[in-house]
């Protein structure tokens, strides 16, 4: 696993166990879900890391739990344990396309509802989106044209 440079205890759990893990941690006093986000390592077959950062208010202890997910694999939602996970999971879904099984309202949150791609994936280019204006049903609106294509020469690292 990747080197952790910040002294926060980090563990990797199986996708099926994440709900049980965070439930146990919550009962152990880790009541504040500080952050829930994802990152992408396309070189790996289970490319997505979903990261949960929990905080215990009593003594300031922190713990980080990670889950790996491959393309198309769902992660169980933790909204039942931490209501705040609602928007965080929507954000991960919006930007990476990782779906959360059992989420009450899994919609895009930052990108437009009709956006066709997952922009924070590492293989998604920066810039080059076709910007179209128009009302739904009219020419120029995105639902009447082909999915986004990225022209040659798009900025890449």
């Amino acid at each position: 696993m990747i080197r952790v440079a910040d002294a926060i205890p980090t563990s990797l759990v199986a996708r099926s166990e994440i709900l049980a893990t965070v439930t146990r941690l919550r009962e152990d006093g880790y009541t504040l879900l500080v952050d829930l986000f994802a990152y992408d390592t396309p070189e790996r077959s289970d490319r997505f890391d979903v990261v949960y950062l929990l905080h215990r208010l009593a003594d300031g202890a922190r713990v980080r739990v990670k889950v790996h997910a491959a393309e198309g694999e769902d992660v169980p939602t933790v909204t039942g344990v931490f209501p705040a996970a609602d928007w965080y999971e929507r954000e991960v879904y919006d930007l990476y396309g990782v779906a959360f099984d059992g989420h009450p309202d899994l919609r895009r949150i930052l990108m437009p509802d009709d956006w066709m791609s997952y922009p924070l994936r590492r293989d998604h280019p920066l810039g080059g989106e076709v910007v179209e204006y128009g009302l739904p049903g009219e020419p120029g609106h995105r639902d009447t044209i082909a999915p986004l294509e990225f022209p040659e020469g798009t900025v890449r690292s």
Binding site: V4, L57, I109
Partner: protein, 394 residues
């Protein structure tokens, strides 16, 4: 012609995204029973600029300037959290003088941010003169920043391993004199607002949230402390030199809009206290670490030493390269826990820069705050959680 609605039929009211009291581009869908809010659904994303994505195409140094634009009312908190995370990846600690000055700048920005909040919130409650007063004082902070860095708002006055330059005498003296004058102005604000019956009528009992609910919805910062939970990153997970400083973590128990006002107002006093301690105890010494692979060499060396010139060139073009790994650093921004998680993959560009924005979580709890209130009180509750849309949407 008049239309009468059958009893208990609700209507949907769309507030924003272009509404002056939504403090940016927030769209709020209100379900109303008469004038009472039954449910509220915030709709965000109108200010999404993809800063996290852009950071992946910048060197670790270049990304600093992007972080300013996230929480534009308190840019220094963003700078600090990002640079702290990158310094953890390198395993370096900046010299003492830089760490003290960083705290001074962060606290000055906290005062500035709370002043803007006080002014804009008062304007929402029709106390329109407050904005003029608070901006008058904030202007002095911006002028100090200009003296220090040449830039008023987006200073980016930080580098990996320290600061770009030492603080000038004029800046330090100006800060000391500003801190002398500020308390008198704060007393004027108190005269205007604290016991003002209209202000209290609009704030007391409005937007109440319990401590347990606030924690469950991941609220942090003044909004959480107003509900009786004394969680402050500066004390809970200390960073920079906060363990050496004396200050109180302000809490209130009521959990309403007025309690959040009191917390922020009293936090300004604590920030003044911290700034004074920094000015008194500021140590001498270098302001950047001496590591040519991470921190820029001294300006005068670039003109005299060939090695320094090469190092400067390499850092400016290729940038510093941290060893692979990930690190999270958090600071207490004026709005709560502002955290940055950086993942490095051994190249000169970050693989992932994640900004944990306090406003994002705080805003999510808004439906709890406004349920059962009148539409007009919704404005006060909205203003009292002090969100910045630039930070919600990133």
């Amino acid at each position: 012609m008049t239309t009468t609605l059958p009893p208990h039929e609700t209507m949907l009211l769309n507030m924003g995204p272009q509404h002056p009291s939504t403090h940016g581009v927030l769209r709020l869908m209100l379900e109303l029973d008469g004038e009472v809010v039954v449910a509220a659904r915030p709709d965000i994303g109108f200010l999404h600029t993809g800063i996290e994505k852009s950071c992946e195409y910048r060197t670790f140094h270049q990304a600093i300037t992007l972080t300013d634009r996230i929480d534009y009312l308190s840019p220094y908190s963003n700078n600090l959290a990002y640079v702290d995370a990158v310094e953890k990846l390198f395993g370096v600690t900046p010299p003492p003088r830089a760490r003290w000055l960083r705290v001074l700048l962060a606290e000055l920005h906290r005062i500035g941010s709370h002043l803007v909040w006080l002014g804009t919130t008062s304007i929402d409650l029709a106390a329109s003169s407050m904005l003029i007063y608070t901006f008058r004082e904030r202007e002095e902070i911006l002028a100090l920043m200009e003296e220090l860095s040449g830039v008023r708002m987006m200073t980016s006055f930080i580098r990996i391993g320290g600061l770009p330059a030492d603080a000038t005498t004029k800046f330090l003296e100006g800060t000391a004199s500003f801190l002398e004058r500020l308390p008198a102005h704060l007393a004027e604000y108190d005269d205007l607002l604290r016991e003002n019956p209209i202000f209290k009528g609009r704030m007391v009992g409005i937007g109440r949230i319990s401590g347990d609910d606030a924690v469950a919805w991941s609220m942090t910062g003044p909004s959480l402390r107003a509900s009786g939970v004394g969680y402050d990153v500066r004390r809970a997970i200390p960073y920079e030199i906060y363990p050496e400083l004396e200050f109180d973590v302000i809490t209130e128990t009521a959990g309403d809009s007025y309690a959040r006002y009191l917390v922020r107002r009293r936090e300004i006093d604590q920030s003044i206290r911290i700034c004074r301690q920094v000015l008194e105890r500021l140590p001498d010494g270098p302001i950047r670490i001496d590591d040519p692979l991470i921190a820029y060499p001294k300006r005068e060396l670039i003109h005299t030493s060939m090695e320094s010139l090469i190092h400067h060139y390499k850092l400016a073009t290729e940038g510093p390269i941290p060893p692979p790994g990930e690190a999270y650093a958090a600071v207490e921004s004026p709005r709560g826990e502002y955290g940055v998680h950086v993942v490095a993959n051994g190249t000169n560009l970050p693989q992932r820069v994640r900004f944990r924005a306090p406003s994002f979580a705080n805003l999510q709890a808004l439906p709890l705050l406004v349920r059962g209130h009148m539409v007009a009180d919704c404005i006060a509750a909205l203003a009292s959680i002090d969100f910045v849309l630039g930070e919600v949407d990133r």
